[in-house]
Amino acid sequence: MSEQTPLIRAENLTCVFDVSKPWLNRVIERRERQFLTAARNVTFDIPKGKTFALVGESGSGKSTIGKMAVGLLRPTSGKVTVDGTDLFGALKASSASALRRRIQMIFQSPYASLNPRWRVGDIIAEPIRAFGLASGDAVGARVTELLEQVGLAENDGQKYPHEFSGGQRQRIAIARALASNPEFIVCDEPTSALDVSVQSQVLNLMKDLQRDLGLTYLFISHDLSVVRYMADQIGVLYLGQLVETANREDLFNNPQHPYTRMLMDAAPRIDAFGRTADAVKGEIPDPITPPPGCPFHPRCPLVDNRCKTEVPKPFQTGETNVACHAAEEGRGRPEAA
């Protein structure tokens, strides 16, 4: 951990969605209101210039947290601070655009995130104009600079998004995110829609940009191998809760939570010929009625009675923060093969 104050701090972020049926249906069908807790007490810090990755399966709350971190979604409770300023307080103030400029987002699908009717140059210029960062000819010069920074050519600015391949489109999305000179970028599955050979180009580009521009990333992914390549710190999410937070080496060399171990075990490996992964039973439970106690207990090989009733509190072991009774008690760790 660095001593400096983190650029981004998420404290006890909780997001609850009301997923009730309409009032009349509830009255007729005698249903209660229903709530879905997409994120529960999620806390993490991201030091400046580092990458924090959130991994988890679908429905684990990764994207919800990403949206809260850029201010697209208001947390039900908890807060996000950027450089010590409360994000949601600041977004209401008159200085909001100054803070917004510093935060950008890259989305999963470059097919959906670029306006098909705009020329690429205009797409990239929009944040420059919106934040008043340049005017007149300087805008065009800046667009050219950005295009070259992401490995595209100057005349690509005259084209429309459909003229580009998926990987090139994601480069355009990155150029647009960089246009406002941000410090913090939330990347929500930025390469999941791309082929592997193109994925590696985009990941390398993102790493180079981070090094050159001192960017801070919140990197959201379901793919542990991508995360291993990109992240400094990793948070593993399960059903909206961080079950383990650790730096990269510790997480991969010495995973503490049974869910983390399961994820690593289940990921297909290019060097494991003919292996049949020891498939974990079950699937992620319904988040509207999560299991009592530890959310992972119905699938956990180390479950005991305490896990079924008592929600595990995160505790610190070394530099790893883990929420698991079994890890805390040192209960039978299955040996990795």
Binding site: E57, S58, S165, G166, G167, Q168, D195, V196, S197, V198, Q199, S200, Q201, L203, N204, K207, H222, D223, L224, S225, V226, R228, Y229, F252, M262, L263, M264, D265, A266, A267, P268, R269, I270, D271, A272, F273, G274, R275, T276, A277, D278, A279, V280, K281, E283, I284
Partner: protein
């Protein structure tokens, strides 16, 4: 038991006539799949993987059609059959599993009825017997409480359970061949592991041949016996999975393996292949990979390489043509 391969494809060409010329998403592809064998077909989007699968089951969208080569199922030529005869082969002799289980199930029909319908279409059994078999099929794919779940609708199942239903449906008429097109791409890793284990076990037990189409090298490594690497509609390399993945010969396969991030490796920088797969409208002359290939030389830009045995693999690359002077890649081949 005959020694004929279950599926045998040779020089398959699929063409789409368009106003701006004829496109060839599949260009002279050939391979065999033996009984009980799982062949992986890997490639990036647009490589022609799914088009191969569609060609085999006779489901190419118009105006596309097979313009060359042949497809044989247990020795019998099927690419020339009528729609009606092909319809009887689909489901009966060739089962299919697609990426998105929601679109391959009828949302308005109970899953049991869909399986019963499939069984009764292809096998001469009574309604009662078909239903008994449907329950057994659902049990076999690991759906808990199958005898009650059989009356559920597809939306009442989770994604993983739905894909199990699709597998049960594909196997219901005991086909010789299963074509699984990205069967786990829409699923989470833990569920993916369950589904792949299930597919492997069922096919091994029954001796079903499987054509597994995927872009995921990890899935290929863990699940397939042999692998075919497609690039721009052509076979770049084919061979036993272990040989192709651990000693790839074609520069594209080498690049593909190197750019795949490994959950166990800790490379500081991923190696990357420059550029992207060419558009079907603009396939470069010669080897389709030549503009992205760091080892391209003389013949690569003008002449099409053909598959040649190299080690235990077959590779379509001029680097392995001994007739060409000096074979610049000899050292690497021995490595």
């Amino acid at each position: 038991m005959s020694t004929l391969p279950v599926l045998s494809i040779s020089d398959l060409i699929v063409e789409f006539p368009t106003r701006r010329g004829v496109l060839r998403p599949v260009d002279r592809v050939g391979f065999d799949i033996a009984r009980g064998e799982i062949l992986g077909v890997v490639g990036e989007s647009g490589a022609g993987k799914s088009m191969c699968g569609s060609a085999i089951v006779g489901l190419i969208d118009r105006p596309g059609r097979i313009t060359g080569g042949e497809i044989r199922l247990s020795g019998e030529r099927i690419d020339t059959l009528s729609q009606e005869k092909m319809r009887r082969i689909r489901g009966k002799r060739i089962g299919m599993v697609f990426q998105d289980p929601l679109t391959s199930l009828n949302p308005l029909m109970r899953v049991g009825d869909q399986i019963v319908e499939t069984i009764r279409t292809h096998l001469p059994v009574s309604e009662h017997e078909a239903r008994r078999r449907a329950v057994a099929a659902l049990e076999e794919v690991g759906i808990p409480a199958a005898s009650t779940r059989i009356d559920s609708y597809p939306h009442q199942f989770s994604g993983g359970m739905r894909q199990r239903v699709v597998i049960a449906l594909a196997l219901a008429a005991e086909p010789e061949l299963i074509i699984a097109d990205e069967p786990t791409t829409a699923l989470d890793v833990s569920v993916q592991a369950q589904i792949m284990a299930l597919l492997k076990r069922l096919c091994r037990d029954r001796g079903t041949a499987v054509m597994l189409i995927t872009h995921d090298m990890g899935v290929i490594a863990e699940s397939t016996d042999r692998v075919a690497v497609l690039y721009a509609g052509r076979l770049a390399e084919i061979g036993p999975t272990r040989d192709v993945l651990s000693s790839p010969r074609h520069p594209y396969t080498i690049g593909l393996m190197a750019s795949t991030p490994s959950p166990t490796g800790g490379a500081d920088r991923l190696s990357q292949i420059p550029g992207a797969m060419p558009n079907l409208r603009a396939i470069p002359p010669g080897c389709a990979f030549n503009p992205r290939c760091t080892k391209a030389f003389g013949p690569c830009t003008s002449e099409l390489p053909v598959l040649k045995p190299v080690g235990r693999n077959e590779v379509a690359c001029w680097l392995f043509d001994d007739a060409l002077t000096g074979n610049p890649n000899k050292a690497e081949e021995n490595a």
